[in-house]
């Protein structure tokens, strides 16, 4: 199997793998994490708002998303969003949104469910005296959240949020099912074209492993630094 392992195949494919593939993977990861965090925080605030209906809606959404396999949601969105677009705009044909937009929306919606649970735990970790002190100073509910509660919750939860983002980074490889050229998609294409499956899939694994490992190490460093600051 390894007797004719060809490093040159990998080296020749490097520009394509990284410029096309990895840059897409990182862009998708970053945008999804950002969007998921914003939307997830909104869901967490809904669940903690004290309005029963809002809480129920957010709770159902989170449970729903967490009960579905990610690949299914990716497919589902890819085929459904054009029809929803058609229905909303009243166009005569399904509106093509493109694989990137579709996968981005999918990941934001899906990750929001996970980020919302993290942010909920973060908000609940703040002692009740903090919002009380903020209210006593005259801050409104929104200001209390924005300036006092959320910054602390975010800081407390930063290691967990980054860990979830590392998982997201790996999960973005599932856009492969939409034949998008992310890092794994690019590796796969080269593998098929050159008939070098072993080299390309091994290399892809090494790259995912290395990046995730370094990021995890960074999280541990960060955790110990935050622990000192408190």
């Amino acid at each position: 199997m390894f007797s004719n392992f060809d490093f040159n195949v990998i080296i020749r494919a490097l520009p394509y793998l990284f410029y096309e593939g990895m840059s897409f993977t990182i862009l998708l990861t970053a945008l999804s994490a950002l969007g998921g965090l914003v939307f997830g925080t909104a869901l967490a605030l809904m669940r903690l708002s004290g309005y029963k209906i809002l809480g129920r809606i957010a709770g159902l959404y989170v449970d729903f998303m967490r009960s579905l396999p990610l690949v299914l949601v990716i497919f589902w969105f890819y085929f459904l969003v054009p029809y929803i677009g058609q229905w909303l705009t009243g166009a005569s044909r399904p509106i093509s949104v493109g694989a990137f937009a579709s996968s981005l929306v999918t990941f934001i919606m899906f990750e929001a469910a996970y980020f919302s649970e993290i942010m909920r735990a973060g908000i609940q970790s703040i002692s009740r005296g903090q919002p009380a002190a903020a209210s006593a100073l005259g801050l409104t509910y929104a200001q209390t959240m924005r300036y006092v509660v959320l910054p602390q919750a975010f800081r407390n939860m930063l290691p967990v949020l980054i860990t979830q983002t590392i998982v997201l980074f790996q999960d973005t490889s599932l856009v492969y099912v939409l034949s998008i050229t992310d890092f794994l998609g690019a590796a796969s294409k080269v593998a098929q074209r050159d008939g070098r499956l072993v080299e390309m899939y091994l290399f892809a694994a090494v790259v995912y492993f290395t990046i995730s490992c370094i990021a995890s190490y960074g999280v541990r460093r960060l955790q110990s630094r935050i622990a000192i600051l408190r």
Partner: protein, 243 residues
């Protein structure tokens, strides 16, 4: 200034924490609220700026009803300073930013004006050189003085203190009480929940004694320390003053 009339509060239908509480704090008056733990004194003071809801009765501050749904509560609270047992400084903000936040976001003061005001108040409580530190770097007594300065930065018309020295090590209590005594002597309207009877003797106009959710005694300071009318207040006093 603060009018509390016939306030009842239940935590659950069977558990009443406040029963028919009626009292008032006049402008410039210092009223100390004391009583055994669980007597409802902290709950009562939190009802004053509506941090705790209550089911019956009325509380008004400067003529504005706090239990009226139409009242702009954030605005009303911004005019009443509050100091908590556990300080509740914002740990993610520097000391000076703790003082500036509400000045800027609630009162709409410009940043440099808020800074000037904040630094002046830190100077007043003797902590000017700590402005750039974070709360966790300060001792409990220092944090509580910052909390008082933070409340004063809003130019409050009255101050509420909820057991301001109960969470402090004994050697830090006096530095906080000194600030409070100064404040009282300057004529600040104050309602203070505390066990510090020395503070009450020094600056209080009136002392309220609570037990089991009721105001048992509401007397002028000298009457209270001279000869409390109720047995319960006498017992309480003999217990905390005998050491």
């Amino acid at each position: 200034m603060i009018e509390i009339s016939h306030v009842d509060k239940w935590y659950s239908p069977t558990f009443q924490v406040l029963t028919d509480c009626t009292t008032s704090v006049a402008k410039g008056e210092v009223v100390v609220v004391c009583g055994p733990s669980g007597s409802g004194k902290s709950t009562l003071i939190k009802c004053v700026n509506a941090l705790e809801p209550f089911q019956k009765g009325d509380i008004s501050i400067d003529g504005i009803k706090v239990n009226d749904p139409k009242t702009d509560l954030p605005k009303l609270r911004s005019r009443v300073g509050m100091v908590f047992q556990h300080f509740e400084l914002f740990p993610h903000l520097k000391i000076i930013d703790n003082l500036c936040l509400a000045q800027e976001k609630v009162l709409g003061r410009a940043h440099d004006k808020a800074m000037t005001k904040g630094m002046a108040l830190l100077d007043r409580v003797g902590l000017k050189e700590h402005a750039k530190k974070f709360p966790a770097q300060l001792s409990g007594g220092q944090q509580q003085r910052v909390a008082i300065a933070r409340a004063l930065a809003m130019d409050p018309i009255a101050m509420l203190f909820d057991e301001p020295t109960s969470a402090l090590d004994p050697e830090m209590i006096s530095e906080v009480l000194d600030v409070m005594v100064d404040l009282a002597r300057e004529g600040m309207t104050m309602m203070v929940v505390t066990h510090e009877m020395g503070f009450a003797r020094k600056v209080a106009n009136r002392v309220i004694f609570m037990d089991r959710g009721e105001i048992v005694e509401d007397a002028l300071k000298d009457d209270f320390f001279g000869k409390p009318r109720s047995d319960r207040a006498q017992k309480f006093l003999s217990k905390i003053l005998s050491h």
